[in-house]
């Protein structure tokens, strides 16, 4: 579903990523782990078009998306969430999710200003779908609340709801469990599995090893900008070079 081929990113003199290649199979949960500064977030930023790689290619379902704009990728079915939760704070929870349907709707300025019949119909559809996604993530009770007033954990869920509303094929989640308590993390694990069941591929960067080992089908380990290993959670746990990277060579 998602394939990275020889991704290299150089910032000035610093090589953040060096020849990173791996592929993610459809409808799987893949974890990207590694110590701080391993290049995980940089990798996400390249895949989602926020950074441009120095070399290498990214393929989504066989299509080369290396040089697509961020905004074009959402339409192709690739969305992400952010480590620090990027919500539209002044808008309601429902409106946030409605923005998620931006690519799924197409009324322009003219038809919106004049409320043409097609736009009214589309607006109803946007609202209905958004409520369904809030129901899916268990956020429906908060629909009319201002997003900026949500507690952090709920904000995370909202961000995921919004991403789902874009009908993605692949969701990239940047540290979805960061800042969550253990109960919220357990709920998140359930939600991620539930999302996968709808046929969506999930790639996540995460530091919470229990969560990663629990839910991921496949794990990619990055260290100092290079891919160290890829495999099932069990393989990764037993991989000597991974252990060395995490615990320091003995």
């Amino acid at each position: 579903m998602l394939r990275l081929n020889g991704i290299t990113k150089v910032f000035g003199g610093l090589t953040a990523l060096e020849d990173v290649s791996f592929s993610v199979t459809g409808e799987s949960i893949t974890g990207v782990i590694g110590p701080n500064g391993a290049g995980k977030t940089t990798l996400f930023n390249i895949v989602t078009g926020l950074y441009t790689q120095t070399s290498g290619d990214v393929y989504l379902g066989g299509k080369n998306i290396s040089f697509f704009n961020t905004e074009a990728l959402a339409g192709l079915g690739l969305v992400r969430t952010f480590q620090n939760v990027e919500l539209f704070g002044q808008m309601t929870v429902l409106e946030n999710v409605m923005v998620g349907l931006h690519t799924g709707s197409k009324s322009g300025i003219f038809s919106c200003a004049f409320k043409l019949p097609r736009q009214i119909k589309e607006e109803k559809y946007i609202k209905k779908m958004s409520l369904e996604w809030l129901e899916f993530t268990g956020m429906a009770d908060h629909a009319e609340m201002k997003a900026g007033n949500l507690p952090f954990g709920k904000g995370r869920l909202l961000e995921i709801s919004r991403a789902l509303a874009a009908k993605p094929r692949v969701i990239l989640m940047d540290e979805p469990a960061a800042g969550l308590n253990s109960r919220e993390t357990a709920e998140l694990a359930l939600l991620i599995r539930k999302i996968r069941k709808t046929g969506i591929t999930i790639v996540l960067v995460e530091h919470d090893m229990d969560l990663v080992m629990d839910i991921c089908d496949s794990i990619v380990v990055l260290n100092l900008g290079k891919k160290l290993a890829q495999g099932t959670p069990r393989e990764i746990q037993e991989n000597p070079s991974v252990i060395a990277a995490y615990l320091g060579e003995g």
């Binding site: 961020t70 905004e71 704070g89 002044q90 409605m98 923005v99 300025i109 200003a113 607006e123």
Partner: protein
């Protein structure tokens, strides 16, 4: 249970009824004349609010689009016997085209840099109005602009002008309200709150910002065109930096992202000079002071500020009643 949508329609109908019946109360009063300009300024404030309050992009040069509309209409209709309404459309299209062209490079800038770039644009346009004497009449102004007319109905008195302007103003307000509650409005507010998240969700921030800048310029130009035909005389002084700041003050005083707030801001700032005659040329100082005070104490503008105060007072009264009941 009244839905939000019905409430919105109700408010707009009340506002429209009030606007259309106001001349009956103000008959023969010079306030009617003032309200003609309140209408024009409301259009301008709404236009700027779409850009500033919704998309979160500042413009310190919006008076230039207003001036462009006024001068294109003025120059052509003062010399050639063409239908002024056709020229108004031409003026709107030209201003829109200019906004579209300069929008692409300018709106790449953010914050202070965007403010400086739009400021520069405003100054350039002001210099053009001032210096192309053969066309615009230069600093001494352009006169002999005909009034608008539909058949034998000539818009040459306050009452006719009032209805002419407010037809446009109400239309602009309605369309802006519609726009703000649509996917485009949400996308604009999303850009305002987090541009990166908006882009990730598929909102083409760059194009959308240019589009709303263009729409804003078109509305401003139409307001300018109306202004020229009503005044029948225009001079560059009306379209300078001071007026851009005045527009900004209207939007901030009324409330960012509030269409009715823009009307309130426009009404206050249009009537204020009448009340502040004693201060003469210090009006710009007063505007600056208002901007500072509003951003410090009522960042949401008057409409939401008054609402917050009302809620605070209501809560106080309720609490006092409870205390009494307990005692």
């Amino acid at each position: 249970m009244i839905t939000e949508k019905k409430r919105q329609i109700f408010i707009f109908l009340i506002f429209t009824a009030a606007a259309l019946s106001a001349p009956i109360l103000l008959k023969g009063n010079y306030l009617l004349n003032v309200f003609v300009f309140v209408g024009i300024n409301t259009m301008l404030a709404v236009a700027l609010n779409l850009l500033l309050g919704y998309a979160g992009q500042i413009s310190l040069g919006h008076a230039a689009f207003f001036g462009m509309g006024a001068y294109i209409s003025g120059i052509i209709t003062a010399r050639f016997p063409v239908d002024p309404f056709l020229v108004m459309i031409l003026a709107a299209l030209c201003s829109g085209a200019l906004a579209f062209v300069i929008g692409f490079p300018i709106l790449k800038l953010k914050g202070h840099y965007l403010a400086m770039a739009t400021l520069g644009f405003g100054i350039i346009m002001y210099i053009i109005f001032n210096e192309t004497v053969e066309l615009t009449g230069g600093p001494s102004g352009l006169s002999g602009i005909p009034n608008l007319h539909i058949g034998s109905l000539i818009f040459d008195n306050d009452l006719n002008n009032y209805y002419l302007v407010w037809t446009f103003t109400l239309a602009v307000m309605l369309l802006s309200i519609n726009l703000s509650q649509s996917r485009i409005g949400r996308a604009l507010r999303a850009i305002h709150d987090s541009e990166v998240a908006a882009r990730v969700m598929g909102v083409n921030a760059r194009i959308l910002k240019v589009q709303i800048f263009t729409v804003s310029a078109v509305i401003s130009a139409v307001a300018g065109s109306l202004y020229a035909h009503i005044m029948t005389f225009i001079a560059p002084a009306s379209f300078g930096f001071n007026f851009s700041v005045e527009l900004l003050t209207m939007v901030v005083v009324g409330g960012l992202g509030s269409i009715y707030g823009s009307f309130l801001g426009a009404a206050i700032l249009t009537m204020l000079p009448e009340l502040l005659r004693v201060f003469q040329n210090f009006d710009i100082v007063i505007y600056g002071l208002m901007l500072i005070l509003m951003t410090m104490f009522m960042p949401g503008g008057l409409v939401s500020g008054i609402w917050a105060i009302a809620e605070f007072v209501a809560a106080r009264i309720r609490k006092r009643k409870d205390d009494h009941a307990q005692a």
